[in-house]
C-alpha cells in the first residue's frame, strides 16, 4: 500500500513538474498572467507529491518492507534505525529521489524568496526548474524506480553496503546534493534572463544569494566527503582525484568563479555574458558529474552500479538541457553590451583573472577525468589518469590565483589605486614570507619548496584579508556582513591551503607489524600495541585493537582501531582509531592477523590536519554571513525593482 502510494505520488509529481514548466515558460511568453500565477500552485503541488514519495520510501525502510526491491537491496532486519533511514540514498535509485527532493525544496524556496521580483521573471525561473524536475522524475520513473516490487518479497534484505554504515552517510550526500542541485537555481535565473532578453544586470543581484548558498553547501558537502573517506577507508587519504570526487569539485570551482563574476556584474554591470555562461556551465558540470557517476563510463571506487541504458537516458536529458541553455546563450549574449571601463590594476581586472584561472582549473580537472573517454573515442586504447597528473596540472593555475588574491584584495573598483596600498602589500608579503619560513623550517624542519610556498601564500592571504576590515574597524566604520563574509571565506581558503601544504609534506606514515607489548616509532610518537580482542556490533563482529600512543615517554591516548566483518554481506570494513592532539591526528588502522598474536597495522601522524576541516567551516561561515546580508538588501530593493528603477549603486 505504502509503496504504491509513493509510486503514484511520484507520477503525480512528474505531471505537476511538467505543468510547472509549461506555465512558467509559456505564461510569460504569451502574456497569460493566470498561467504565471498557476506556476506557484504547481510548485507547491510538486513539493507535496515529492515529499509524499520520499516519506513512503522512508516508511518502507523503517518498517522492513522487503517487498520493495530497493529496500531489500539496501537494508536488513539487523540494520539499526539510523541507517535504515539514511539508506534511502545509499544506492542509485534512492539517491536520485534525494536529488529530486532537494530540487523540489530549492524550487519552493525560490518561489517564496522571489515574491518581490517581477512575477514574469520569477515564473520563468520556476519554469526552468520545473523542466529540470520533470526530466529527473521522468528518468527516475522509467529507468530507476525505487518503488519496484519483488515478487515474492524477499525474506530478508542483503544489507546496506558496510562502507556506507557510518554517520558520514547521514550528512555527506544530502549536504553535497543540496549544493549540486542549488546550482540549478543560478542556471534557472540565467535562463530566465536570457528568455526574457534582459540586458540590464539586475538579474545578477537577484541571483547572488542563491549562488552563494549553493556554493556554501557544496563547500560543506565536499569537505564532509573528504573527512568521511579519511577515517573510513582506512588509509587516511582525504582526496584521491577519483572521478567521482572530481565530479563534485568541478562544479565547486565554477561556482566560485560564478559568485565572483556575479559580484562584478552586480556592482558595475560588466562581465554580463561571462556571468551568464558561468551560471550555465556550473550546473552543467553538476549534470555531467551525475552522468559520469551513474553511467558506468568511468572506473571509480565511488560510482553507483551502472547501466548503459541509464547512461544514454541521462546523456539525452543532459544534451537537451545544456544544449538549449547554450543555444539561448548564443542567441542572447551578443545583445549584451556594457560600457564600463576599468584599469589594469582595478578590482575587475583581478576578478577577471580569478574567473579565468578557476575555469582553467576546472577544465583541467575535467580533461583529466574524461581523458580515458577521449582516448577511447580517438581509438587510442587505454589511458589512465590519476593523482600524479592532477596534482601538478591543478597547481599550475591555482598558485598564481592565490597570489593574485592577496594583491587584488586591496584594489578598488574601476581605478585600482594599488599605489595607496603599497605599504600594506609589502608589509603583509614580508610577514608572510617570514612566518612561512618559521613554520616550515622551524616547526617541521622541512625543506620542500612547495610546502613553504603553500604556507607562505596562505598566511599572506590571511594577512591581506584582514587589512581592510581592521582599517575600517579602527576608523569606526560599519562592517557590512558581505565584507565580513568575504573576509571569512578568503581566510578559510587560506587555512585549507596551509593545511594541505603541511599535511602533504610532513605526514609520517608507516606500515608496522606488532605483537602485544611491542611498539614502533612513527615520527616523534611511539605506538604500542596492547591487545587485539574480538567484539560484537549490531550487525558485525570485529577485532578491536588497543594501541597506546605516547611521546617522549608521556602517554597521550589510546586508540581503538577495528577490523569488522559484516554478517549479511560478509564484507570486511575498517574503522580507524583516530585522536586529534592539538590539531595533529594520530591515526591507526588495523591490517591483518599475522599469526602468533602479531598484527600488521598502518600508523600515521598527520600534522595540523584539523585545519583541513576548520578551513572549509570558516569558508561556509563566511558564505552564510554574506547570505544574511544579501537577503536584507533584496527585501528593501524589491520595492524599487518593481517600480521599474534600474540598477543603482547602493551605500553599505
Amino acid at each position: 500500500m505504502v509503496p504504491e502510494l509513493g509510486h503514484f505520488a511520484l507520477i503525480l509529481a512528474m505531471l505537476l513538474a511538467l505543468l510547472q514548466a509549461f506555465f512558467g515558460i509559456a505564461g510569460p511568453a504569451l502574456g497569460r498572467d493566470r498561467w504565471v500565477a498557476a506556476t506557484l500552485s504547481a510548485v507547491a503541488g510538486q513539493f507535496v507529491m515529492v515529499s509524499t514519495a520520499v516519506g513512503c520510501l522512508i516508511l518502507s525502510f523503517v518498517n522492513f518492507d522487503f517487498s520493495v526491491r530497493y529496500v531489500a537491496e539496501n537494508s536488513n532486519s539487523a540494520l539499526p534505525l539510523f541507517y535504515r533511514i539514511a539508506a534511502l540514498w545509499g544506492a542509485h535509485e534512492g539517491s536520485l529521489l534525494l536529488w529530486i527532493m532537494l530540487l523540489a525544496c530549492w524550487t519552493l524556496a525560490v518561489a517564496i524568496g522571489t515574491t518581490r521580483l517581477p512575477p514574469r521573471f520569477a515564473a520563468r525561473v520556476l519554469g526552468v526548474l520545473g523542466f529540470l524536475s520533470f526530466g529527473f522524475l521522468l528518468f527516475t520513473l522509467v529507468t530507476s524506480n525505487p518503488f519496484l516490487r519483488l515478487e515474492p518479497p524477499a525474506a530478508d534484505g542483503i544489507d546496506l553496503n558496510p562502507l556506507l554504515q557510518d554517520p558520514g552517510l547521514a550528512t555527506h550526500p544530502p549536504v553535497l546534493y543540496t549544493g549540486y542541485v542549488g546550482l540549478a537555481v543560478a542556471f534557472a535565473f540565467a535562463c530566465a534572463a536570457m528568455l526574457e532578453g534582459r540586458t540590464d544586470p539586475a538579474w545578477a543581484r537577484w541571483t547572488r544569494p542563491w549562488a552563494t548558498a549553493a556554493w556554501t553547501f557544496l563547500t560543506c558537502g565536499i569537505t564532509l566527503g573528504a573527512r568521511w573517506s579519511y577515517y573510513t577507508l582506512g588509509w587516511g587519504g582525504y582526496w584521491a582525484w577519483d572521478p567521482v570526487e572530481n565530479a563534485s569539485f568541478m562544479p565547486w570551482l565554477v561556482a566560485t568563479a560564478l559568485i565572483h563574476s556575479l559580484a562584478v556584474t552586480d556592482k558595475r554591470g560588466l562581465f554580463k555574458s561571462w556571468t551568464l555562461l558561468l551560471a550555465i556551465v556550473g550546473f552543467s558540470m553538476s549534470l555531467v558529474g551525475t552522468f559520469l557517476v551513474r553511467s558506468g563510463v568511468i572506473v571509480s571506487v565511488h560510482s553507483f552500479a551502472a547501466d548503459p541504458s541509464r547512461g544514454t537516458a541521462i546523456l539525452i536529458f543532459l544534451t537537451i538541457a545544456i544544449g538549449s541553455a547554450l543555444g539561448l546563450y548564443a542567441w542572447r549574449a551578443p545583445t549584451l553590451r556594457s560600457n564600463g571601463g576599468f584599469e589594469l590594476a582595478a578590482r575587475e581586472s583581478f576578478l577577471l583573472f580569478n574567473n579565468i584561472l578557476l575555469v582553467i582549473a576546472a577544465a583541467t580537472v575535467f580533461g583529466g577525468t574524461i581523458a580515458p573517454l577521449i582516448a577511447d573515442t580517438l581509438g587510442q586504447g587505454a589511458l589512465s589518469v590519476g593523482a600524479p597528473y592532477f596534482k601538478p596540472t591543478f597547481l599550475l593555475p591555482i598558485l598564481p590565483l592565490l597570489a593574485l588574491l592577496s594583491i587584488g584584495i586591496h584594489a578598488n573598483w574601476k581605478r585600482g589605486r594599488l599605489g595607496d596600498s603599497r605599504g600594506a602589500l609589502f608589509t603583509t608579503l614580508a610577514l608572510a614570507c617570514a612566518l612561512g619560513l618559521a613554520v616550515v623550517l622551524g616547526a617541521y624542519s622541512g625543506r620542500q619548496i612547495l610546502s613553504y610556498v603553500g604556507v607562505a601564500l596562505g598566511i599572506w592571504i590571511i594577512l591581506s584579508s584582514l587589512v581592510d576590515p581592521i582599517d575600517r574597524w579602527r576608523r569606526k566604520l560599519t562592517l557590512s556582513r558581505a565584507v565580513v563574509g568575504m573576509t571569512l571565506a578568503h581566510i578559510g581558503v587560506a587555512v585549507v591551503v596551509i593545511a594541505i601544504s603541511l599535511v602533504e609534506s610532513f605526514t609520517v606514515e608507516r606500515d608496522i607489524a606488532l605483537a602485544p607489548g611491542q611498539s614502533a616509532r612513527v615520527g616523534s610518537y611511539d605506538f604500542r600495541l596492547l591487545s587485539v580482542r574480538p567484539v560484537e556490533g549490531p550487525n558485525y563482529s570485529a577485532e578491536r585493537g588497543a594501541v597506546v600512543v605516547s611521546r617522549n615517554g608521556r602517554t597521550i591516548t589510546t586508540l581503538f582501531p577495528e577490523k569488522r566483518e559484516y554478517w549479511v554481506r560478509q564484507q570486511v570494513g575498517t574503522a580507524a582509531g583516530i585522536k586529534n592532539e592539538y590539531g595533529t591526528d594520530l591515526f591507526v588502522a588495523l591490517g591483518d592477523d599475522l599469526g602468533a598474536g602479531r598484527w600488521s597495522m598502518r600508523a600515521q601522524v598527520r600534522p595540523l590536519i584539523a585545519l583541513l576541516w576548520l578551513g572549509p567551516a570558516v569558508m561556509a561561515l563566511g558564505g552564510f554571513c554574506a547570505l544574511s546580508d544579501r537577503r536584507y538588501r533584496l527585501a528593501r530593493a524589491g520595492a524599487q525593482e518593481r517600480a521599474g528603477v534600474g540598477p543603482t549603486e547602493r551605500p553599505a
Binding site: T143, I360, T364, W413, K414, S480, L590, R602
Partner: protein, 161 residues
C-alpha cells in the same frame, strides 16, 4: 531499455568479473597494510614511490599501495624482486606496461599520443592570459579622465566585494 551491448557478450563479461569479484568480496576495501622493509632506505623510498604510481589492475581506481587484492600484492612483490635485482624505475615501469598496458599507470606517459593531455593546462593558461589582457586593454581605454565625478559612489576603499 536500449540494449547497447550484445546480451551474450555481456554475460561473458559478467562471468569474468564474477571471478574477480570473488576475490574482491573477501577483501577489505582499499587497505593494503604491508609491513615491508627493503634492505636500504633508498630502496624503501623507491618502493613506496613506485607502488603509488601504479593502478591495481582489478580494483576500481586504487593504487597498488592501497589495494588489498591478491593480484596487487603479487605485483608489489614483483616490484620488490625487481628492485632487489637492481632494475631501474624505468625498467620496472616498462615491464608492467608490457604486461598490463598503459592502463596500469596513473601518470600518463609523456608521449606524443598524450601530448594533448599534458599540454592542455599550459595551452589554456596561455589562451586565458591573452584573452584577459585583450579585455583589460579594451576596458582600460574606456576609462576617461573626466569620469571621476561618477566614481564617488565607488568609494575610496572597497565597500563591497
Amino acid at each position: 531499455m536500449i540494449p547497447l551491448v550484445d546480451a551474450h557478450a555481456r554475460r561473458l563479461l559478467i562471468g569474468a568479473c564474477a571471478c574477480v569479484l570473488v576475490l574482491l568480496a573477501s577483501a577489505p576495501p582499499a587497505l593494503a597494510i604491508d609491513p615491508v622493509q627493503m634492505p636500504t632506505p633508498e630502496l624503501q623510498a623507491r618502493y613506496l614511490a613506485l607502488i603509488q604510481e601504479f593502478r591495481c589492475p582489478v580494483c576500481q581506481n586504487e593504487t597498488l599501495a592501497d589495494s588489498n587484492e591478491d593480484v596487487a600484492g603479487e605485483v608489489r612483490r614483483q616490484i620488490r624482486t625487481m628492485l632487489l635485482q637492481g632494475k631501474t624505475d624505468t625498467q620496472i615501469r616498462d615491464y608492467l606496461v608490457s604486461r598490463y598496458s598503459e592502463f596500469i599507470l596513473f601518470k600518463p606517459e609523456y608521449s606524443l599520443r598524450n601530448a594533448w593531455l599534458w599540454l592542455l593546462p599550459v595551452a589554456l593558461l596561455a589562451l586565458g592570459t591573452v584573452v584577459a589582457l585583450r579585455v583589460i586593454r579594451a576596458r582600460a581605454a574606456l576609462v576617461g579622465e573626466d569620469d571621476d565625478q561618477e566614481d564617488g559612489d565607488l568609494g575610496p576603499r572597497v565597500d563591497s566585494r
